[in-house]
Symmetry: C2
Subunit: 165 residues, 2 copies
Amino acid sequence: MSLRFDPIAEAGRNWTEHDWSQTDAMLAATSITRAYQIMLARINDALAPLGLNFSRFEVLTLLSFTRAGELPMGKIGDRLQVHATSVTNTVDRLVEAGLVERVQHPTDGRTTLARLRPEGHSLVRKGQAALSEIDFGLIGLETSAQRSIYNTLTSFRQANGDFSE
Amino acid sequence: MSLRFDPIAEAGRNWTEHDWSQTDAMLAATSITRAYQIMLARINDALAPLGLNFSRFEVLTLLSFTRAGELPMGKIGDRLQVHATSVTNTVDRLVEAGLVERVQHPTDGRTTLARLRPEGHSLVRKGQAALSEIDFGLIGLETSAQRSIYNTLTSFRQANGDFSE
DNA sequence: GGGAAATAGTTGGACGTCCAACTATTTGAG
DNA sequence: CTCAAATAGTTGGACGTCCAACTATTTCCC
C-alpha cells in the first residue's frame, strides 16, 4: 500500500529539476495536506466507536466548556471557524444521536441554541479519553514538535486574518 | 468575521482548566486543521480562474513530470495518495475540460492511462505560476518555517507508514 | 414608529473524498 | 491448462463542507 519512497520528496526533486519556483512552499503545502489527512483519519477512527467524528466531537467539547452547556448556532460556527451550514448539519447529527437538543433563544427569536444533553456530556469525556490515547492522531510527533508546529501555525493564522489580538 | 481572540488558544485554556490531558497534541491538531483550511482556500482561489482546483492541478503536474505525459490511473493515486475513486473523479473533470484524455494501456487490458493533452500542458504552467505567486497559500510563513514544517511533518508521515525508505 | 438593512438560521445544490460492491482482465498455483 | 485469486478501474451511496438563495426576526435611523 505504502510506497518505498516519499512521493513528496520526489515531487520536490522534479520541481527543482524543472526550475519551478517556490519549492519550499510547495513542499510545506503538500506535507500539511498529507499530514492533515493522516491525522484526521486517525482521529475519526478513534471516535467512530462512539458514533462521533472530529466535527461532532468539537461541537460537543465546545458546549461542555460553557456554563449552561448551550450556545447559539452562530457562535459555534465562529469558535470552530466553520460555516453556518456545517454547524446546522453537525448539530442535526448530534440531535439525531440524542446528544444535543435545539432550544429557542429566550429573548431573540432569530436565534437557536444548541444545548448539551446529559448523554452528550458523558460522551464528550469518552471522546476526550479516546483522543488523548492516540495523541490526537499525532503519534510520532514529539511534544516539542507539537508545540513548535502550534506556534508556527498560530502566527501563520494570525498573518492571514484568522483572528486579531 | 474574524474573532478578536484566538479560539484555539481559548480552547487550550479551557482544556487545561478542566485537567484534560494532551493539550499540546490538541493544540497542534487543531492548528493543523485550521491552517490547512486557510491554505487550501487560498490555493483554490488562485486556481479557480484557470478552472482548476488543487487536486486537478496535482494530477496535471504529476503527468507533466513524466516522459510521455501519461500514467496509469492507479499510479496517480499512489503518488498523490488519494483513493482510486478520487482519481476517477478528478480525471473525469480534466477530461471534460479537454486537458487530459483516457487511453487504453497497450498491453494490459485492465489498465487505463491518463494522458496529458497539449491544452493541459500549457495550463499546468499557468497553474504553477499562479501558485508560486501566492506562495502556495503560505504567505505569512518564512521560508525557514516552511522548511521546518516540511521536515517535521515528513518524519511524522514516515512514522505513520506513509512511505518506507 | 415604520421600513430598509442587518442578523440568524435553514435549505438545496455542487463538489471532493471515502467505502463497498461490481465488472473486466491478468496472474499463478497445481 | 485451468480456474481461483489478485489487480485495475468504475459506479453508487454516504458524508462533510461550501455557496447562493431564502425565511424570519431584530436593529436602526429618519
